[in-house]
């Protein structure tokens, strides 16, 4: 274990285990950059959700953002190269340790978890919401040509979409948008990373307004906005 090295710089004298580990992280200076990937690994392991780079930089309190990003890349390469059981994923505006897909059968058996199905109606509906958000139920139905009431309820229940308000239009219909969970479930760093809509002729449409999504909690936050709010 790394943190049992004896370089207790200053401190309260009695290096309690806690204080010690704390110090190690806080004083990861330039000459210690080699340890950075391992420290990052610990941070990501301890976090339950994707961690924005800004939070990692803050926790490390020393290395620059560029150094942290570089160390993250080093860690990611190490996982790949050594064929380890983890991968570093960039999702929902942060970094997260995930299992490689080829290990899924075993992990699933361990967790005794039957994955919740993503049906075609669900995928089509959530795709439309993702590209057209915020949008109303009617707008989705216009594209799919079928009633989407039940599918939307399922998506709300699964927290892949959420209600963001009402449209200032007759009937004040509800407006739907995708959630942070949506990005996490589909392993997307941000909305801009959505697969491109194929341009099938009629006028190219760039559909995703990047900054549209930065607002309340549970929203897709682009990587560039470090103020990834939590709440």
């Amino acid at each position: 274990m790394d943190q049992v090295e004896t370089d207790t710089t200053t401190g309260n004298g009695n290096g309690s285990a806690n204080g010690h580990a704390h110090r190690a992280a806080v004083t990861a200076p330039a000459d210690d950059l080699g340890r950075l990937p391992a420290i990052l690994e610990s941070l990501l392991f301890a976090a339950a959700a994707p961690v924005p780079v800004a939070r990692l930089v803050e926790a490390l309190d020393g290395p620059s953002r560029a150094e942290v990003v570089q160390a993250l890349e080093a860690l990611a390469h190490r996982y790949e190269r050594e064929g380890r059981g983890l991968r570093l994923a960039q999702v929902a505006g942060g970094y997260q340790l995930r299992t490689p897909p080829e290990h899924a059968p075993w992990v699933r058996r361990l967790l005794r978890e039957r994955p919740a199905r993503l049906s075609r109606p669900m995928l089509e509906t959530v795709a439309i919401v993702a590209y057209r958000q915020p949008c109303t139920r009617l707008e989705i139905e216009a594209i799919r040509g079928v009633d989407v009431d039940a599918v939307l309820s399922t998506l709300l229940e699964r927290r892949l979409v959420r209600i963001v308000g009402r449209k200032e239009a007759p009937g004040r219909p509800l407006l739907y948008a995708t959630t942070r969970d949506f990005l996490e479930v589909f392993g997307l760093p941000d909305l801009a990373a959505l697969p491109a809509l194929r341009d099938l002729g009629d006028g190219a449409e760039v559909l995703v307004a990047r900054d549209l999504t930065v607002s309340a909690e549970g929203v897709a936050v682009t990587l560039e906005s470090p103020a990834a709010e939590e709440s």
């Binding site: 299992t99 967790l111 005794r112 994955p115 594209i143 479930v185 589909f186 697969p195």
Partner: protein, 270 residues
Amino acid sequence: MTAPCTVRLPIFEGPLDLLLHLIKKNEVQITDIPIATITDQYLAMLEELPELNLDGAGEYLVMAATLMVIKSRMLLPSTGEDDEPEEDPRTELVQQLVEYQRFREVAAALGDRHVLHRDVFAGGGETVEPGPAGEEPPPVRDASLGELLDALRDVLQRVRPPRAHEIGRETISLRECVSRILARFVLDERVEFASLFAADAGRGEVIVTFLALLELIRLRVLRARQEERFAAIVLELAVASVDEAAMRVRDLGDLEEWRGEEEADGSSGD
């Protein structure tokens, strides 16, 4: 190029999906649909679709009508009165198909991604049951209406029998019952169906409570789950919190101001 006898009908996600299937099968351009052929095949498919569920049938029929209108308009010679330049009657449909196809593709791409909890897993959150293998937790499934009715019958049998001396009507409103049921979820995540009914409840109260429950399930505020057939039915919130449940119920208007006295004077968290 007639529709071959299809043995297995693929499942279609609506009329547009079916149309795209036909276009692909006929190897024609989406922008230049041979409308007569496609319309015929579409109608033939409709007849073959074993049992369109009632919700979906309407949408398929509307499309059938649209196709026939387009077909007839294509047959008509162009009228002399040209307030507008002659427009291909298929244009709108083509746009709709193109649009739908794009999203269908993206949807497929999303489904092919490494989906969390299906293909990839992240640390934190998952608890591993310590029990030995083979003792898998029984799959929990939604209880059907029939099963709910069975459970209701059990409750009604348990309920105090109507007695001769019973006078006066029990007055309990649906709203009150909704309120009472939701209140149970403030403390508990899961509530057993049978426990909703007080031992001394009369038949009227039992039935109103049951109706309130059905309403809450219909509004997708609650979910009735059952581990297996004949197992106890357990209710759980289908929304994140009781507050959200309250909002959902209130939003839907018809039970307006259902919030009973117990909440009105408490913290009015909105």
